[in-house]
Amino acid sequence: MRRATYLVSQALKGLRRNLLVVTAAVVAVFISLTLVFGALVLNELVKVNTSRWQEGVHVIVFLKDDVPLETQLGLQSEIESWDEVQETSYCDKQCAFEEFSQMFADQPAILEDVDPSILPASIRIKLKDVSTYKDVTFRLIDNPAVRKVVTAGERFDQLTSVTRALNWLGIGLAVLLGIASVVLIANTIRMAIYARRDEVAVMRLVGASNWFIRIPFLLEGMVQGLVGAGLAVAAIWLAEGYVSSNAPDEFLIRLSVPDAFMVQWSIAILLFGALAGIAGSAMGVRRFLKV
């Protein structure tokens, strides 16, 4: 117990007395974890936005004119019950003509020519996950009530591949930066201890055990990691708050992430900083502790 007090007080003294070196480590942690956290937030933004971009109608099922209305509505409720489907809506001949009219509002000549009754009724399907459109189409195509199934299939595939690419990019960036930050932190703390190698050598000569020497350094490393991570978290909160409150509303992109995400990852980043600090110190001290 008393020994614990001594070791903690040594750690605090170490922090005070080696301010230059401590600052260096804190700065390294701060910068690298800000980058990691930033990458995570960007990744989350991509996710939030791609799900918005994927909104809208995904599959249109044109129905045959000779099928009775009940069969049509029955098909709709069957589709609605499928797992992949989020929502459906029914558009009868009148509704189809209204859409057609809107489309050619500026070309009255065409509108005059076309008879409302020739346009087919349709069921519009919104999917939970766009990538399932092929299954849904496949199941509908042979239905006797269906005249034709239309999807923006290729466009979906492209969008999905873009989203996936952006997600990979974000995760890859976060992982790379995470590794980089561990290396930087370990590096900096190792140098910090290198700068105090004589001190460690003297402690060993006077009979201090390895743990007795190590613990204050580990505590110092933890504090440095925590402070750096705290600064990083603060920086990202400030930046996120600023951007999301100042971004113009008409922006196509949404620039704020859920609070839950911020809270969870803040805690993760703080833990990561503390662990990286401890690990960095442990690695740093090790080579000076060989008897």
């Binding site: 008393r2 020994r3 001594y6 003294k13 170490g14 007395r17 080696n18 105090r196 004589d198 001190e199 050598a201 003297v202 402690m203 060993r204 000569l205 006077v206 009979g207 201090a208 055990s209 390895n210 007795f212 060989k290 008897v291």
Partner: protein, 230 residues
């Protein structure tokens, strides 16, 4: 207490610092280690602390074969051997009092005991007023005295001193020697490397003389120079 058998130390690069040294120091003895610069005195002390490892031979300290001792036991060895280093080896970021206290902290002594013992030993070496200073704020001799105080403070059964008076004026040296003598009389084994003629000749204790790494003289009540040389 200290026993060397056929100890040879060859440093990387091929310097032979000790050649086939045999030495037996009994409990409670006071031994002067003399010899010209570079003859291996500090090397011998470093070997006793396991700061360096022997190239050949065996060393027993306090009954333990330290040449075979596993690394994690070395701190225990060092805590039972107080050492005054030739280059002081003080912690630059700790005050004088903290440097001295460190030898007690590693033993886990209670704070009250530490404070009292540190005060006592600083008085002994005449540094009571300088406990709050950092080593760089001391004169050479004062740093040496701090090193002496740290070696004494935990009353170890063995005391090694590498030129503990090298940077001291004669008066202070005599003071330090009185302390060493007193400590020796309480049963502590003392091994002291020195160049100081006057002290060796005045104390008339056992003298071991090294010359190029070999023991060339071992007299029970010797002087700095061997009788034949004089």
């Amino acid at each position: 207490m200290i026993l060397l058998e056929g100890v040879t130390k060859v440093y990387e690069g091929g310097t032979v610092a000790l050649r086939d040294v045999d030495l037996d120091v009994k409990k409670g003895e006071f031994v002067f280690l003399v010899g010209p610069s570079g003859s291996g005195k500090s090397t011998l002390i470093r070997l006793l602390l396991r700061e360096e490892r022997v190239t050949r031979g065996k060393i027993w300290v306090a009954g333990k074969d330290i040449t075979k001792m596993p690394g994690w036991k070395v701190p225990h060895l060092r805590r039972s051997v107080g050492t005054v280093f030739q280059d002081y080896k003080l912690l630059p970021n700790q005050t004088v009092a903290e440097n001295v206290a460190f030898a007690l902290e590693v033993l886990g002594r209670p704070q009250s005991v530490i404070q009292r013992q540190v005060q006592q030993v600083l008085e002994l070496v005449g540094l009571t007023t300088k406990g709050d200073r950092y080593p760089r704020q001391l004169s050479g001799g004062e740093q040496q005295r701090v090193s002496v105080a740290r070696a004494f403070v935990n009353r170890p059964p063995i005391l090694l001193a590498d030129e503990p008076t090298g940077n001291l004026d004669p008066a202070t040296s005599v003071g330090i020697m009185r302390v060493l003598d007193r400590i020796n009389r309480t049963g502590t084994t003392v091994l002291m490397a020195t160049h100081d003629h006057a002290i060796v000749d005045a104390m008339r204790r056992r003298v071991v003389q090294l010359e190029r790494g070999k023991v060339v003289r071992d007299e029970t009540r010797g002087t700095y120079e061997s009788i034949e040389e004089l």
